[in-house]
Structures are given as structure tokens and as C-alpha cells.
């Protein structure tokens, strides 16, 4: 919960968090080591120095650390757990639904547990998706179209098998399809992170929402074009947001383009925890104003109303969260006891 100087309470849903194990003990091969090293480089490079973690903590953090970083030190009210399996790189997977479900089980009012599927897993994968959905009552999945699977270095949402899985998701009530389209790992065929296949499936599956994580960066122009044409395509801010610290001028351009093309109702905040932590991201975001010269160019303004939507209301809408009811639950469970009667207004 973030409180402004005027006493407004802003309900925060973190659209993108992980509870991973990238430790050496879990690494299967050199790729596993290089994967967590690459994440750590993102973390080191884009975090303010005071927020930088030791490598060992970054490789594997415990449940309490995560809870505190999100909900006690940080302003998150709820967080979506997005799995990243990477079973070719890690013995027990990097960040599986099973691993994440432990967090959900301990704090059911705080977490939304998402699943995952991979269309290359065939009929067995479809059965697993049914079982996973039944067990965890999934409302969303996270897809990594560039994940390696044996000889395959990625897939497209337009593949026939992807359609079968999306049809299954629709039947199971999994409405929110988060798709990693961003710069984190780049496969041999760069098209595996291309945003064009979103266009096709968003038209074909009108009842599903497609949340393009990392807003397709570095192909922002293609993404904005697609998102404008489709009513059910959203932008996830993870990875774009931390530039607010190191390159605020650049972030101003990105958020301006998103506000202009995609609009304030279809942008979702996400910390990408443990790469970055909510406290500093939201402090900076709340204090942020688009500079006058950029506003003049794009006509975009990041109003308080827009910030409120981006930080929580948009995610609440697509995940069917009743904000007032949820606040009551969290308060009843003592979840706000640590909050002083102070405000979090930007300095």
C-alpha cells in the first residue's frame, strides 16, 4: 500500500515476481550459471547502488526475504508469481509453479499464482495443464516463447500446437496470458522474441488478455502498433521501469509512447523481483513526471489517476480482484500493521 500526501491509498499489484533458485547447487550446466549471471548483470547495472544485493543472496533468496521486500519494506499489496521453468538449465527448474506455490500457500491473500505451458510438450503437456489448473485454480500463465527445449530454440504463438494450448486455457478459465517479449535472453533466431505473433492470437482469442512483458523492448515501435490495434493486449513494465533511475530521460520516452499508443488502462506495473525491488521502483515512479519537452512532443501526461491504474487497478480488473474486499482481508490478517500512519509522498 502506498499512501500519498493527501492520504490517498494506492493499492499495488506487482504484475511480475519470481521465487527462483539459481544457486550453483541447482545449476545443471554452464547455461544455468550464465543465465543467473546475466540476471545479476541486469540487477547490478540498473539498480541504485544502495539497492544492490550480494551475488549469493541474488542466486537464491528465502521466502521471508521475498515477503518482506514485497510487502513490508515494499509497497506491494499483492504480487503475481510468474514461473520460468528452464528445466534444460536447472536441475529442479529455475522458478517453477510448484516452487512458487509454497509462497502462495503461506500467504494466500497476497499472491496470485500463475502457471505455465509449452506447446512443444504435446498431449502430455495439455494433460499437465489441466492438472495444474485444477490444483491451483489458475487465472494466468507465463510463456517463454524463446525457451530452449532440446534442439528447439523457441516457438511461436501462431504454431498449431500453441493454438491448441490457448484453446485449452480458454476452456479452463485461464484468462491472462503473459508472454515474455523482451531482451533478457536472445535466442539464435531473434524472431522468437518478436511481437508479431501476438497480433494474430489476440485477434483469434478475444476472450483472453495478452500481457506483453517488457513491452516488447527493444521493439517498442512494433509493440505499440500491435497494442493499438488489439483491445486485449497489455504492456507489462518489468525491465522498462528500472530505467527510471539510471536513464530517466529514456524512461520518459518509453512511458510517453506507451501512454499515447496503448493508454493508461492497459499498462501493468511489475518489479521483476528479485531482479529489482518494489520500494525504490515505486518511490521513483510516484515522484516521476514526464518532462515538459517530451510531453510537448507526445502529448502524454503521467497523471495520478494513470499511476493508480498502472500500479494496481489494471491488474485487479483483469484478475478479478475486488480491491476494497482484498484490503479488508489483508488488514484483518495484520498485513498493514507495520504501516505507520505516515505518508509515502515523493520527496
Amino acid at each position: 500500500m502506498y499512501r500519498t500526501a493527501k492520504g490517498e491509498e494506492i493499492f499495488v499489484i506487482d504484475g511480475h515476481t519470481h521465487f527462483w533458485d539459481g544457486s550453483p547447487a541447482n545449476q545443471k550446466n554452464i547455461h544455468g550459471k550464465q543465465f543467473i549471471d546475466c540476471f545479476y548483470a541486469y540487477h547490478s547495472n540498473l539498480s541504485p547502488p544502495s539497492e544492490k544485493w550480494e551475488k549469493e543472496k541474488f542466486e537464491k533468496y528465502d521466502a521471508k526475504t521475498m515477503f518482506d521486500d514485497l510487502f513490508v519494506t515494499g509497497y506491494d499489496d499483492m504480487a503475481i508469481l510468474q514461473p520460468t521453468y528452464l528445466t534444460d538449465f536447472y536441475k529442479n527448474g529455475f522458478n517453477t509453479t510448484e516452487r512458487n506455490s509454497a509462497m502462495k500457500k503461506s500467504h494466500p491473500d497476497r499472491f496470485i499464482l500463475n502457471g505455465a505451458f509449452d506447446p512443444r510438450d504435446g498431449t502430455k503437456g495439455l494433460e499437465d495443464l489441466h492438472a495444474l489448473s485444477e490444483k491451483h485454480k489458475l487465472k494466468g500463465v507465463k510463456l517463454y516463447t524463446a525457451e530452449w527445449r532440446g534442439e528447439s530454440k523457441g516457438y511461436k504463438l501462431t504454431d498449431k500446437a500453441s493454438y491448441q494450448y490457448l484453446e485449452a486455457a480458454q476452456k479452463l478459465g485461464i484468462k491472462n496470458i503473459h508472454v515474455h517479449k523482451g531482451p533478457t535472453i536472445i535466442p539464435l533466431n531473434r524472431d522468437a522474441f518478436d511481437v508479431a505473433d501476438i497480433d494474430d492470437v489476440a485477434t483469434s482469442f478475444q476472450d483472453l488478455n495478452f500481457i506483453v512483458e517488457h513491452c516488447g523492448l527493444p521493439r517498442l515501435d512494433d509493440f505499440c502498433w500491435i497494442a493499438t490495434q488489439e483491445t486485449n493486449v497489455y504492456a507489462g513494465l518489468a525491465v522498462a521501469l528500472p530505467f527510471i533511475h539510471s536513464r530517466p530521460g529514456y524512461f520518459a520516452h518509453v512511458i510517453s509512447e506507451l501512454l499515447f499508443w496503448v493508454g493508461p488502462d492497459k499498462i501493468l506495473y511489475g518489479s521483476d523481483y528479485g531482479i529489482w525491488t518494489p520500494k525504490w521502483l515505486i518511490d521513483k515512479f510516484m515522484a516521476f513526471e514526464i518532462p515538459a519537452d517530451v510531453t510537448k512532443e507526445t502529448g502524454s501526461v503521467l497523471s495520478m489517476e494513470a499511476k493508480t491504474k498502472i500500479l494496481g487497478l489494471n491488474a485487479a480488473r483483469i484478475y478479478g480482484i475486488d480491491v476494497e474486499a482484498q484490503k479488508k482481508k489483508i488488514r484483518a490478517g495484520g498485513g498493514y500493521a507495520h504501516l505507520p500512519e505516515a505518508v509515502h509522498a515523493p520527496r
Binding site: 547455461h31 550464465q34 549471471d37 546475466c38 545479476y40 548483470a41 541486469y42 547490478s44 547495472n45 540498473l46 530454440k153 531482451p183 533478457t184 535472453i185 536472445i186 535466442p187 539464435l188 533466431n189 531473434r190 524472431d191 523492448l217 527493444p218 521493439r219 517498442l220 515501435d221 505499440c224 530505467f243 539510471s246 536513464r247 529514456y250 520516452h253 518509453v254 509512447e257 512532443e297
Partner: protein, 262 residues
């Protein structure tokens, strides 16, 4: 300024130090296709040695283990081509370090194979198409930077769109402006013939720009710049985080004295 001795007569102009300077000068003109910056400016090149038989050894590394294989291959190929153009060179070895496809790329390079031959079915599209795509993006990015500069100096849209290449070269500009012109001219021929009487500014298809539509044209190019900026900031930062570049990076081989008499 180019270091080294090319174009000047010196008694030791064919010494190994001078040859090495020529190699560095060649590498300085090789660009990361996506960032449109020199591979030496980006600190990618860690070794550039010449042996007694005039064979050249290049080693380079990239911001992440995962950097796209096609870009990696393309840069290596560009380095090999640039250095092979030196008349005294008897062989070039280019080696990529610490990359997921290092072994495959290095083997392909060593055997003189193409990207497609090296990667087979996993490769999608030839490198020539990719090279052209990014040359056009570089042209657009350099053009929008120069156009914004000229607009800032008070040139009207009508003046700007009717400038010839010769007139562009004669504009009284400060150093920053001169540099923008120079960088733009290096890529102007990507989109069409660039003779002195030709228009200085055309779009990516080589068509002339309209004075009325110039503002709209500039804002449509804006996102090309935003993408490039994102990539540039990210890649520099990741390289620094990966290899600890806090200490200024000086390749071993460059610390060798290059001038005669030392």
C-alpha cells in the same frame, strides 16, 4: 583522429607495432549493427595482434552470453573483412569468447563458412538482409539526430528538405554539428545515390521529404532512436557489469609502444 601511421612515410612503417595500429584503425570502423557504434568504442575487442608472418589475431567478447548469434557472427565477419582488406595481411583469425555459441561461431569463422552454413536449419534469413536492415536503421537514427540539430539551429523545413549534399557539406556548423553531418554522410548511400547535386535528405526508400510533413516524419523516426537508446544503454551497462569495466579497459596488446624511438 586515427592513431597509427597509415598514409605517412616512416622508416618503420611496416613494423609490427604499426601494423597493429592499422588493425585497430580497421576495427574502429566496424560497427555493432544494432547499436551503430564501433566495436572498439564499445570495448568489445580484447586482442588485436600481428605475428611475424603477418597473420592477425582478433579476440572479442559481448555484453551477455546470450547475445544474438546472428549479430555476433555478423560483427566477426565484418572484422575479418575489414582486416583482410589490408594488403599485407596473410590471414585473419577472429575468436569470440564467453558466448553460448562461441564454439559453433568460432568453428564457422575458422573454416570461412557463412552464417547459414554454420547454423543450418536454426538460422533464419541470410546475414545480408540483416545487415541491410540495420544499415537502414543506422541511417534513420543518424538522420534524425542531424535533422533535430538543424531544426534547433533555426533552419526552416523548406530549407532543410531542399538542401543538396554539397550544400549540407558547406553549412557553417560547430564541431558537434560537423560530427553529425559526417556520421550521416557515412550512411547516406545506404538508401540511394549520394552525388553532390543530390538531395541531402531522403527517406528510407530514397524519396524526397516534404516540408509540410517534416515534423511528422521526425516523430515517426523517434521510436527508432528510442529503441537504439534502450539497446545502447543496456549493452554498455551489461558489459560493464559482466567484465568489471570500472577500471578503464586497456587491451594488453595496446599498451605496447607504437611510436619509433621507444
Amino acid at each position: 583522429m586515427k592513431r597509427g601511421v597509415e598514409g605517412r612515410e616512416r622508416p618503420r612503417s611496416r613494423s609490427s607495432g604499426d601494423k597493429q595500429s592499422q588493425v585497430w584503425a580497421c576495427l574502429r570502423d566496424v560497427m555493432d549493427p544494432e547499436l551503430d557504434e564501433s566495436v572498439t568504442e564499445l570495448n568489445f575487442v580484447t586482442r588485436a595482434d600481428v605475428d611475424s608472418k603477418d597473420r592477425v589475431y582478433i579476440e572479442f567478447r559481448l555484453p551477455t552470453y546470450w547475445c544474438a548469434a546472428n549479430f555476433s557472427f555478423l560483427m566477426a565477419d565484418d572484422m575479418r573483412r575489414a582486416i583482410s582488406a589490408l594488403d599485407w595481411v596473410k590471414g585473419v583469425s577472429v575468436v569470440l569468447g564467453e558466448h553460448m555459441y562461441a564454439d559453433k561461431i568460432n568453428a564457422g569463422l575458422a573454416q570461412g563458412r557463412s552464417f547459414q552454413e554454420t547454423f543450418g536449419a536454426e538460422a533464419d534469413g541470410s546475414l545480408d538482409d540483416l545487415r541491410q536492415t540495420f544499415l537502414v536503421k543506422a541511417f534513420q537514427r543518424r538522420q534524425v539526430a542531424l535533422l533535430n540539430h538543424l531544426v534547433g539551429l533555426g533552419l526552416s523545413p523548406a530549407e532543410i528538405v531542399s538542401l543538396t549534399l554539397r550544400e549540407l557539406g558547406c553549412l557553417p556548423l560547430d564541431d558537434a554539428g560537423e560530427k553529425l553531418v559526417q556520421r550521416y554522410l557515412e550512411r547516406r548511400s545506404v538508401v540511394g545515390p549520394a552525388s553532390g547535386d543530390g538531395l541531402a535528405f531522403v527517406d528510407a526508400n530514397g524519396a524526397r521529404l516534404g516540408a509540410d510533413g517534416l515534423a511528422g516524419y521526425l516523430s515517426s523516426l523517434r521510436r527508432v532512436g528510442i529503441n537504439a537508446e534502450f539497446n545502447g544503454a543496456l549493452c554498455r551497462g551489461l558489459l560493464a557489469a559482466r567484465f568489471d569495466l570500472d577500471t578503464p579497459f586497456v587491451p594488453k596488446s595496446r599498451t605496447m609502444p607504437a611510436s619509433p624511438g621507444t
